[in-house]
Amino acid sequence: MKDAKSTRFPPWLPAALLRNRAILTFMIVVLVWIVAGLAKPGFGSYGHLRYLLELAAVIGLVAIGQTYVVIAGGIDLSVGAIVTVSAVGVPLVALSGDSSGVIAVLFILAAATGIGVLNGLGVAYLRIHPMIMTLAMATFLQGVLILIAGGTAISAQNPLLAWLGNARVIGIPASVILWTLASAMALFVLHATPFGARLFALGANPVASALSGINVRTNTMAVYAVSGLTAGLAGVLVLGMNGQGYVGIGDPYLLASIAAVVLGGTSILGGSGTYAGTIPGAILLVTITALITVVNASAGWRSILFGSLILLLLLLSGRDSQRR
């Protein structure tokens, strides 16, 4: 018998790096940044890259919940609506005695988590397909939002939001710090806790995981609750960066979050993936959008370019070879 160590720990190869989807996506981001920075002088400046990261932070936060849900074998199409709920809701619940805005933000985060729990209830107990449940929830929320907020933009002024939107700690935007902390926590929960392990089991084979003693219903509800919470957090951040919330402000984040998850190598069929891939996925999406804006094309061409680039990146990194 050969040395057991060499079979358990295969020798390090450069090719292994390319097979790791998270690292591959990250390398594509770096490559795009270098090429774009050389071709367009302003692109590589620290200020511009920092701005891209700020934009990516919002997508990245929404994509935390989306990654969890997709790994657990579902999909959440209500994240865009929840971002809007949170961005419009915080100014609406601003209380007179609550000058810092902390209570309003906490209340809205709880509400967003509650919406996620409702999604989970529908999926786990009523056995509604996740796509339909979250879609119906998005439709419902859209109606409620227009009834409550109408078509006008609502601005919010409070110190917490202002800090989130504009503050820099030693040159790093508060939104990026928030995203970094949330990412660290998300990665820890996903890969180092029993809850995270259960998500992978649920996504890979729900029947087997139920038979091996996992409470499918509770865990399904928990995963949608996480998705509601991170979408709510992203909404607060969007409000802080924009200064005002309006109905429809969260819509772009739905497709962006799904695209970030898939570009990061998480299987849309569930059971495998990591948030570590979603992070460069989100940055990549923002970078593509920025590049397309630089090209200065018409709306039609921008849309075509965006779609083609997603397809191209999917071909590079997203081959779903394990499909049945």
Binding site: I75, G122, L126, R127, I128, H129, M131, I132, M133, L135, A136, M137, A138, T139, F140, L141, Q142, G143, V144, I146, L147, L255, I258, A259, V262, S267, I268, L269, S298, A299, G300, W301, R302, S303, I304, L305, F306, G307, S308, I310, L311, L314, L315, G318, R319, D320, S321, R323, R324
Partner: protein, 315 residues
Amino acid sequence: MNEALYWPAQRQRNRGLYGLFAVVLAFVALYAYLFPGLLSVAGVSKFAQSWLPLALVSMAQAILMLTGGISLAIGATVSLGAVIAATTMTGPLGVPGGIVAVAAAGLAIGALCGVIAIRLRLPAIIVTLAASFIIAGAALLILPRPGGAIPGWFSDLLAGNTPAALILLVLVALLWKLYLATPLGLSLYAAGENPVGAYRAGVPVDAARIMAYALSGLLSTLAGLFIAAQTGSGDPVIGQAFTLNSIAAAVLGGVGFLGGRGTMRGAIAGSLLLSVMINVMFFLGFPPVAQYVAQGLIIIGAVALPEISRWRRAV
């Protein structure tokens, strides 16, 4: 085909749809009660005109879902169909040329999506998501803002005081029956239900799936053509709502996401339910916004009903 087995087989397929049919009938009865004018040739024709586009896109989505696929590009494809119709029909191609252009565009786009998703083994949901951006962009290039025109006589023929929409719907349903009798149509369910088993049994799985994408594209652009005829012009973003509504209608109709489960009659009944629901809410004087709320609740209710009744039986 064994004659004696035909009706039992049809009954088997209707099983599980009786609840839906009952709900649809109840809504149609309510609609007829609120709007007695429905019960005439003109009333039915008008209603069929508002229903046809949704019915077509629901069929487009259901074909894909039966093979285990899904499309998030339906709405964009509808828009593209409307835009092509509105720009070609008054041009040198004329109405027949316009119809051919719309149909060819639908088939080509659908087939291309199918080839990319099936041959390159990429997940359909994300391929069609990317495709929706490309198709929507193409629609914006052809017609940057609402405009174009449809010849008046053609609009009157399709969307005037004629039962053309209803006849078209029946025709499409009959063609679907015919397609199911062809080798590729027969392979459709097999490819969705158990692709590996079907492949080993010699079923052309990939061809059946790619054909499903092509037909789905065709139905979507035809829905766009009809909408353009209805409004008399083209609008590059008119189809957006159809993506989600087509999924909702198909799922209401009992078509499963995993392939091989469901029937086209279910999907059509699902689209009928959605359309009647929207009309009834309009007649009851709901503000358009409250319709979103009600629509969300009714979709959840209709899909959850079988599960809730299962609990009842279990208790």
